[in-house]
């Protein structure tokens, strides 16, 4: 019985740990995707003449900046929580 409880607890925590690792990895890959996208948009912006297109590309750059900042903040916060838990 006790073994079962220990097993389920260890499964629960290992699942939680694995999910956390997966989440950090996904956030990291999202961050690199956004960085790549920023570079691509900057290059595109140089060659664009259409006013509406330029406005959309500029908005994309602003938004990408804010999103990257948000991801870094989430990652930093999660790191702090993890360290304090230890």
């Amino acid at each position: 019985m006790n073994d079962n409880i220990i097993d389920s607890l260890s499964n629960y925590f290992s699942d939680k740990f694995n999910n956390k690792i997966k989440r950090t990895e996904t956030l990291g890959s999202l961050l690199s995707k956004l960085t790549k996208k920023s570079r691509k948009i900057k290059r595109k912006l140089v060659n664009t003449k259409d006013e509406n297109e330029i406005q959309l590309l500029e908005s994309q750059l602003c938004v990408l900046k804010a999103q990257k900042k948000k991801i870094r903040k989430i990652l930093a916060e999660e790191k702090v929580t993890e360290e304090s838990n230890r």
């Binding site: 997966k22 989440r23 996904t26 956030l27 999202l30 995707k33 956004l34 996208k37 003449k49 259409d50 006013e51 509406n52 297109e53 406005q55 959309l56 908005s59 994309q60 602003c62 938004v63 990408l64 804010a66 999103q67 948000k70 991801i71 989430i74």
Partner: protein
């Protein structure tokens, strides 16, 4: 007419048979119990389909060999080629599977179904299986009453197996008793005439029972009781194989064109295999004798020899037909074509997909994309533009300035005939498909339902916006004309971007996040327009009545854009629910977007 007479005639014939012979009653009851067991077994497997079976299907069918093995394996496990065929048809209808892979699965299912004959002939007749049936039924039924879905599923499978065994037992008993009173083998017909007549009987029996498995069990038990000759049993087995295609044909009746083609392939395959078996019956019998001798099966053990025959002729059928799969696909695509329809209805929502959650989500997604495409045309026409131009590369400003002619459009009629019908079908489909859904699929359905609502609201708002817009596109007042053109551009920007995302879903992978930029652009344009309206009013370039109309219409335009963007996030986002929820977490809130908009307007 025939339909109305068919069922009562069957009842009368059966009732007369029951009155005439208690043994016939016992055999029929055995068949009925066996069929009930199959229904129960299917019900049990459906509980476990909740996405898992479909996930396996997706990765196991990408090559022809894999699809054949998959068809064989699943049919062996489920002991029902019909269930596998119906799942395959639903996958084809949903466009998740190609026709040639589908054909591969059906070929494999034909091989898999031969294991049933081995089970009954090898085990069912030797062991007193009714002894196993009783505890299975008792445990199974207790589990069926449990709330836990998995237990319920196991309960259905267990009771299904119990009923199968019990059915076989009754059939066996019935034929044993028959043996004493009537000798059916006296009616045996020798030669090719006998082969065709008995194959016909096999087809008819399978069509009536809707299960080749049940027919085969009936043949094996009758053969074991020496009620039919070995040769006639072979012909009956060939007939059962042809007759089984009727289940696939019935399943395909309510499915998409691809499903109908698969049912066609199934029929062609089984007919060809049947014909080969009849023409080369002597060679097949020799092969059976040779194989049986090698396997140590006694020469007079006809039941096991029937199982060997069933396996060999299906195997030969697959080997013969395998090189022709591609030609079969071409032939079927040529012969079975989509009927052109005037009425716009749902394209993907077929009742066969309702039972399988992942497929159901996929067909709803495809249908929502369909409704979005129709709406895009209506919305672009609503702002007097053409979707081909909007989706093109020309500057939207130029397109809008060149399109000064109002496109005639009855938006109410367009909504009623094109959108409402499909929308209602989607909602009805969702309500029908509410059972073994896992959290993941329920969440997807929730978002897809919202996406549909977004589209419908956008079309309805267009109806209001269009009234003033149509009047002002060609207005003499240059200022009001320009402002309405800006509203047209705003909606066109969103439609162009969504069209781009629709074609780049897989490449991009950050659809929800990229929509934030669109939200920001729309918000900035809306704010700018409101400032301009006040300025124009102050300078008396437009009248107060014009200004209020413009303000109201800019609200409609904003709502249309916002609804479309929200829809885009659901429709074109990644398929991975974890990725989507993470993207939603990172996506900017209205407050965060407002902050950026304010800082942009200050600079």
């Amino acid at each position: 007419m025939l339909k109305n007479v068919f069922l009562p005639s069957i009842f009368i014939v059966l009732a007369y048979g029951f009155w005439l012979s208690p043994n016939f009653k016992e055999i029929s009851a055995g068949v009925a119990i066996f069929l009930f067991g199959m229904i129960s077994l299917e019900e049990g497997f459906k509980v476990f389909t909740g996405g898992t079976l479909e996930k396996i299907l997706r990765v196991s069918t990408n090559t022809r060999l894999k699809s054949i093995s998959f068809g064989m394996f699943t049919t062996t496990i489920m002991q029902s080629s019909s269930l596998v065929s119906v799942i395959t048809i639903s996958f084809l209808s949903a466009g998740l599977l190609g026709l040639s892979e589908g054909i591969g699965i059906v070929f494999g299912a034909n091989l898999g179904t031969t294991t049933g004959a081995w089970l009954v002939a090898g085990l069912g007749l030797k062991v007193k299986i009714s002894a196993y049936a009783m505890p299975m039924l008792v445990f199974g039924i207790i589990m069926v009453f449990q709330k836990n879905k998995a237990l319920k599923g196991i309960g259905y499978i267990l009771s299904g197996l119990g009923f199968l065994f019990l059915g076989i037992h009754y059939m066996k008993e019935g034929f044993e008793a028959f043996k004493g009173s009537i000798d059916l083998s006296a009616y045996a017909i020798p030669g090719y005439l006998g082969l065709f007549v008995f194959a016909g009987i096999g087809i008819a029996a399978t069509i009536i029972m809707q299960s080749s498995h049940a027919t085969l069990v009936l043949i094996i038990t009758a053969l074991a009781a020496s009620q039919i000759t070995y040769e006639n049993a072979l012909a009956l087995a060939i007939g059962a194989n042809v007759g089984t295609t009727i289940t696939a044909i019935l399943g395909a009746m309510s499915s998409a064109i691809a499903g109908k083609r698969l049912a066609g392939a199934h029929l062609i395959f089984n007919l060809a295999t049947g014909l080969i078996a009849i023409v080369f019956i002597n060679q097949f019998m020799q092969a059976v004798d040779w194989t049986s001798a090698k396997m140590g099966i006694a020469n007079d053990n006809y039941t096991l020899k029937l199982a060997v025959f069933h396996t060999i002729f299906n195997l030969v059928g697959v080997l013969v037909m395998l090189p022709f799969i591609d030609s079969l696909v071409v032939f079927l695509e040529k012969k079975i074509k989509d009927k052109p329809t005037k009425m716009v209805g749902a394209k993907y929502l077929y009742s066969t997909s309702v039972d399988f959650p992942e497929t159901a989500v996929e067909v709803i997604r495809k249908e929502t994309i369909n409704i979005f495409e129709l709406s895009s045309n209506i919305l672009t026409a609503g702002i007097s533009l053409n979707m081909v131009d909007v989706a093109g590369k020309q500057s939207l400003q130029e397109i809008v300035q060149q399109s000064t002619k109002v496109i005639e459009l009855d938006l109410d009629d367009e909504y009623e005939t094109k959108i409402k019908g499909i929308y209602s079908e989607i909602i009805a489909f969702i309500s029908k498909a509410a059972f073994t859904w896992e959290v993941e699929q329920s969440a997807s359905i929730h978002w897809l339902r919202l996406a549909n609502q977004n589209i419908v609201e956008a079309v309805k708002d267009m109806k209001h916006l269009r009234k003033n817009m149509s009047k002002n596109i060609g207005a003499k007042n240059k200022h009001i004309r320009e402002q309405y053109n800006l509203l047209r551009i705003q909606i066109a920007i969103v439609l162009r971007e969504l069209d781009r995302l629709k074609h780049q879903v897989k490449k991009e992978g950050t659809v929800i996040l990229s929509l934030d930029a669109l939200k920001l652009t729309v918000k900035a344009n809306h704010d700018k327009l409101n400032v301009t309206i006040i300025k124009l009013l102050q300078k008396k370039k437009i009248t107060p009545a014009m200004a209020t109309s413009l303000m109201n219409d800019s609200q409609y335009a904003l709502r249309i854009a916002t609804n479309l963007i929200a829809m885009g996030g659901t429709l074109f986002a990644s398929y991975d629910e974890d990725d989507i929820s993470l993207e939603r977490e990172v996506a900017l809130s209205p407050q965060e977007l407002e902050k950026i908009a304010v800082s942009n307007s200050n600079t």
